[in-house]
């Protein structure tokens, strides 16, 4: 199974710009499915970014973040080839993580 | 109402071609099952004809389903009325298909 996480981390000067897209339904719990019943809430709660073991950015999400969520931020102190670890955990306890190199 | 809706509405009505189908407003006696069956069969036949012309409407299918549902509950007044609506819709779709046979050419970009 391919990772649910796509990351682009690009160093520009001293700033590393990070864009992430994650494959996740982000069901709000307010929408009826095809069977006419409410689809239970299923959403990523926490998304964490660590650069070389140091936390740089943490997203706490509720149900109002779009399906296949996207977030962009940037940080100082990144180095070309350095590791950026991205991990998430959702309200059902499911998780995924990936490590990419800063480009 | 958005611009397009307004425009379309005007364009359609300015064709002076509004087809009004009066509904059988007064049904003297309570509808019978036989009467329903006749009305339903007529509606079904008309919808089938629309299908042959590849021009069925979703609303016809919905009216047919409503008719069947009412009949299953024994409400034949309702069932007959829905079947008649279905037939009228199906006939309108047949009419549409027939008139569009040539009318589409008016719309083309040239």
């Amino acid at each position: 199974m391919a990772s649910t996480i796509r990351v682009r981390a690009i160093l520009n000067g001293e700033i590393t710009e990070v864009q992430t897209l994650i494959q996740h339904p982000m069901d709000s719990g307010f929408i009826k499915g095809e069977n006419g019943e409410l689809t239970p809430a299923h959403f990523i709660r926490e998304l964490t970014f660590e650069h070389d073991g140091r936390k740089v950015f943490v997203a706490d999400w509720g149900t109002a973040v779009s399906k296949d969520p996207y977030v962009k931020f940037s940080f100082k102190g990144g180095n070309k080839g350095g590791d950026l670890k991205v991990s998430w955990i959702d309200n059902k306890g499911e998780t995924d993580a990936t490590i990419v190199k800063i480009q | 109402m958005s611009v397009i809706e307004a425009k379309l509405r005007i364009s359609m009505f300015s064709l002076a071609a509004v087809l009004l189908i009066a509904s059988p407003a007064s049904v003297p006696a309570a509808g019978s099952e036989t009467e329903f069956k006749v009305a339903y069969a007529a509606a079904e036949a008309a919808d089938k004809e629309a299908g042959r012309l590849r021009n069925q409407w979703t609303v016809t299918a919905a009216a047919l389903a409503a008719a069947k549902k009412a009949a299953d509950k024994g409400d034949f007044d309702q069932a007959i009325s829905a079947a008649k609506e279905a037939e009228a819709l199906a006939k309108a779709s047949i009419f549409q298909a027939a008139s569009e046979k040539e009318a589409w050419k008016q719309l083309q970009i040239r």
Partner: protein
């Protein structure tokens, strides 16, 4: 549940030891130095995410009210092309930013996202949010222990025969 127990700041402070807890218990939250707040905001703000009212959510998140600031720039469309995916971003010239959050008061739950800005990270965040209907979008920026905001209305209409 007492109001104080529902206060995430309280829960955060529990991690920091009995002394802080005592302070929080006395309701003197504003006495905490800003740095303590930033260092403490490492837990998922569960209760804030359940709030139906913006003021309530902000109170739970930050324990204070926000003041509008022209140093906070909220970038959101005039009309959302679709309420399911509304790109919204914030940039700010404020310094010492420790968190950024997005609220949509007309959504069933008003708090959409809360971002912890750690030292060295820029206070600029872009994300995509769901909007149930036309609503203000509020962005809150916590900087130097103070809370600033910017607000913009985004119109949302339902989809149909388009595309």
């Amino acid at each position: 549940m007492t109001p104080h127990n529902r206060f995430p700041a309280t829960r955060r402070l529990i991690l920091k030891g009995a002394g802080s807890l005592a302070l929080a218990g006395l309701g003197v939250i504003s006495f905490r130095p800003a740095t303590a707040f930033a260092a403490a905001n490492d837990k998922y703000p569960e209760d804030a995410f359940k709030q139906k009212d913006a003021r309530e959510a902000i109170k739970l998140l930050y324990g204070r009210t926000a003041e509008p600031s022209d140093k906070v720039k909220l970038d959101a469309p005039e009309i959302a092309e679709n309420g399911a995916v509304v790109p919204i971003a914030v940039t700010t010239t404020l310094t010492e930013v420790t968190s950024v959050s997005f609220l949509v008061p007309e959504n069933p739950n008003v708090l959409a996202a809360y971002y912890r800005i750690l030292p060295g990270t820029m206070p600029n965040v872009a994300n995509r949010l769901k909007m149930a209907k036309t609503s203000n979008v509020i962005v809150l920026v916590e900087a130097g222990g103070k809370l600033y905001s910017a607000t913009k209305e985004v119109k949302v209409t339902v989809g149909g025969c388009g595309g």
